[in-house]
């Protein structure tokens, strides 16, 4: 029974390693149109040399707004839980 478990573990581990290594070479994603668009156009469209910042605050600003909301919710949650002790 024990050997069966170890064998199953090895099989799963080997499958995962194989999947990671063979499915796609590193740095070669399936679809590159969006990447190329951001890298080539972010300077003229968003006026930023940092493509990550251009994506974060310009192309996907809504995403950042949601992240800020999540942070606010976290703060409110902590304050709510600790409100009696942290007076």
């Amino acid at each position: 029974m024990r050997w069966l478990r170890i064998a199953a573990l090895l099989v799963v581990f080997g499958f995962l390693v194989g999947a990671a290594v063979w499915t796609r070479p590193f740095g070669a994603p399936q679809a590159m149109e969006m990447d190329e668009h951001f890298i080539e156009r972010s300077q003229e469209e968003a006026a930023a040399n940092n493509v990550v910042t251009a994506v974060l605050f310009d192309y996907r600003g809504f995403d950042t707004l949601g992240e800020a909301t999540v942070l606010f919710a976290a703060v409110v949650g902590v304050a709510l839980v600790l409100r009696r002790w942290a007076r």
Partner: protein
């Protein structure tokens, strides 16, 4: 905490805050930005809480609250400023005014006065993150057994 920790904290605090401000300020040029720089400055708050105890800075809870509000409101207002184009439209980019310098195309180190809305939004998010994480740390410090009153 001991005298050693307190002294090192006093020495280190300006450097930590300054590095965080640098990360926020250069968010549109170098790696980092509002979130990361705000987290760095919030780590300064954590340093103070660890070294001096949370009760010493308990009165700054209101300050952090106000900073959080200012950051969030500034972010939404800046997003609405571009409503002529779209929500989050970069209406300051390339206008020649504040942060409106034309960006040199191609690979270059970049100038601080570029980016349009992006640096302002970095500041807003930086304020928000620093206040949010700072108040979380402060609240948890106030909850914990605080031997430095």
């Amino acid at each position: 905490m001991s005298v050693v920790v307190r002294t090192v904290t006093r020495l280190l605090l300006p450097a930590v805050v300054m590095f965080g401000a640098y990360v926020v300020m250069h968010g549109h040029l170098t790696p980092g930005g509002g979130f990361q720089g705000g987290a760095v400055i919030a780590s300064a708050v954590a340093l103070v809480v660890v070294a001096f105890g949370a009760r010493r800075i308990r009165r700054h809870k209101e300050t952090l609250s106000v900073l959080e509000d200012v950051g969030a409101l500034a972010f939404v207002v800046l997003a609405f400023l571009g409503i002529g184009g779209t929500f989050f439209y970069n209406s300051l980019a390339g206008t020649g005014g504040l942060f409106g310098q034309e960006v040199a195309m191609g690979a270059n180190p970049g100038a601080l006065n570029t980016g349009g809305m992006l640096p302002l939004m970095n500041w807003a998010v930086g304020l928000k993150v620093l206040a949010g994480l700072g108040s979380i740390v402060l609240l948890m410090g106030l909850l914990g057994g605080d031997d430095d009153r």
